[in-house]
Amino acid sequence: MKEIRFHGRGGQGVVKSAQILVETVVEGGLYAHFIPFFGVERKGSPVFGFLRIDDKEIRVKCQVYHPEVLMVFDDTLLNLPQTFLGLVDHGVVIINTEKTVESLPLPEKPMKVFSINATGIALERFKKPIPNTAMLGAFAKATGWVNWQILQEKIRLAFNNDNALAAIDAYENVQLVKQEEF
């Protein structure tokens, strides 16, 4: 079973994007689930979510404590102690940022860091600072865990072609910026 934790802020489309991932995996014939963790429901407040992917039924209905992948929708969340809590060694971190990796506050831990300016892509493609669909493209490329064709289709269905194009931009431009040190 693969476990992924989402970190974002209210209004960034975290929950919707995770649901699209679940739909994509399920349509591909495997199992996936997503449990959002809501705090107060307002724009800007931190949002978490827990996604699992498996080739058999997923029985557990609890939070993810040892994620293999972190999806960080906002680089201001990197400072929060809970963001990297429990990340497995050599885990994957996908960050929406326009900063260089050297200027990001990353913990000293062996991990692979991918960077993508998802908000920039969203602004360019559909004039809204909502990075969720671009983050899906980055996820598909960085992990290779989902069927890329089905994912594009699901994004088109849930939103529109501009969002699918944003995902494609991110798929093509996501950068591996740090790998396996420490």
């Binding site: 449990i35 959002p36 209905k61 609890c62």
Partner: protein, 395 residues
């Protein structure tokens, strides 16, 4: 039936509840939004607006009115649906009690939630367990498929002539209501065949043969209503099993009737759960067994009627058990399910060690690791002393 016509989708627990309700084709739906249930009603309103569901939707100003409106429709012989949570259920209590004591079948989903205060909107089971003695049948489910399936089964049980009682399908707020997972949507004609058309014979709205319902009733007669209600609850135990069997014949899924068990045969100790924690506990049982503990799982599906005989059979011969309650029983230093199980095993005739455990209040998580630790405490203490162990709090 042709199972190829079933659709596989990824949907939330609330959407699963809405789909289950829609497939059961209620004549009338009335509901008032409340977290975490709101999207059940939103989905149904959307289906009606799009012409996908031919039900009457009545917008009401409170949960008290929601239950009153569906009650009126049920007295007129209609199939009805509503959903609620926590404070909404509390506001609904007066017509809620009357619904069951009028012996009106219906299904109401409860996305279970902690009760205020302290102020909270998150998960827990305090709301639903607090109304366990208001005469409704209550089933607690483990995943989104079971939500959908039990809403369909719920109508079959509720409308059975030996039962004629309303049913609550209770599912953990957020942990299921907002969980997106794979769900198989049954084919509409198969659900139509399974449920049939509901005909109310005990109440009717017919101007040609008018009928007075619920006149002032003296205590000399009233006890008969209560006795009949209790008898119907006991009959429901059998109807629940039959319905699960019949459901499997058509849809290929069964849930075990009033209870379910996992790795019980050679178990010395048992973890007892109700609701979404069950799935997490199945995983914890596997982990604990890999550590050498002989543990099995008992999932209590129905809190009302309470399956005391089945539970006694399962726990007889076991060394000890722990009950995971996502609620508290204020009169006892335990949760509600623990107290119910304690009562059920009082007939066993021999001591058995038992541990009340309370967790998951106000949306708190219960992890696999926490459950394994809890099982370890049970096995250690339960091996040393029979009887009731100290209450275990998940922190």
């Amino acid at each position: 039936m042709n199972t190829n016509q079933n659709r596989i989708v990824a949907i939330s627990g609330n959407k699963s509840a809405a789909m289950g309700a829609a497939l059961s084709r209620p004549d009338l739906i009335a509901a008032y939004p409340i977290t975490p249930q709101s999207s059940v009603v939103e989905s149904l309103a959307q289906m009606i607006a799009q012409g996908d569901l031919n039900s009457t939707m009545i917008q009401v100003e409170s949960e008290h009115s929601a239950m009153s409106v569906v009650q009126g429709a049920a007295v007129a012989g209609g199939r009805t649906f509503t959903a609620t949570s926590a404070q909404g259920l509390a506001l609904m209590y007066e017509p809620y009690f009357r619904m069951s004591t009028l012996r009106l079948p219906m299904v109401m989903a409860i996305a279970t939630r902690e009760m205020t205060s302290p102020e909270t909107v998150w998960s827990g089971q305090q709301d639903a367990v607090s109304v366990r003695d208001a005469g409704w049948i209550q089933v607690y489910v483990e995943n989104n498929q079971e939500i959908l399936d039990m809403i369909i089964q719920g109508y079959k049980i509720a409308e059975h002539p030996d039962v004629l009682l309303p049913v609550n399908v209770c599912y953990d707020g957020f942990y299921l209501s907002h969980l997106t997972e794979r769900v198989e949507i049954p084919h509409q004609p198969a659900v139509d065949d399974f449920l049939g058309v509901y005909h109310a014979d005990h109440v009717s709205l017919d101007p040609d043969t008018p009928m007075a319902v619920d006149p002032l009733t003296s205590g000399e007669i009233l006890w008969r209503y209560r006795k009949g209600h209790l008898d119907a609850m006991q009959k429901a135990l059998q109807v629940i099993e039959q319905t699960d069997d019949a459901f499997e014949q058509v849809f290929g899924r069964r849930y075990g009737g009033v209870i379910d068990t996992y790795k019980m045969d050679d178990a010395d100790f048992v973890i007892v759960t109700m609701g979404a924690t069950t799935g997490t506990a199945r995983e914890a049982v596997d982990v604990a067994r890999s550590l050498g503990m002989k543990i099995g799982l008992l999932k209590v599906r129905f809190l009302r009627p309470f399956p005391d005989k089945k539970i006694r059979e399962i726990l007889s011969g076991k060394q000890g058990f722990v009950v995971i309650d996502k609620n508290v029983c204020f009169g006892w230093n335990t949760g509600v399910l623990y107290m119910e199980i304690k009562a059920a095993i009082s007939e066993l005739g021999h001591p058995i060690s038992s541990m009340p455990a309370i967790g998951g209040l106000g949306g708190a998580d219960i992890s696999v690791d926490q459950l394994v630790t809890c099982i370890q405490v049970l096995v250690k203490q339960g091996s040393q002393q029979p009887g009731q162990l100290d209450t275990y709090w998940f922190q």
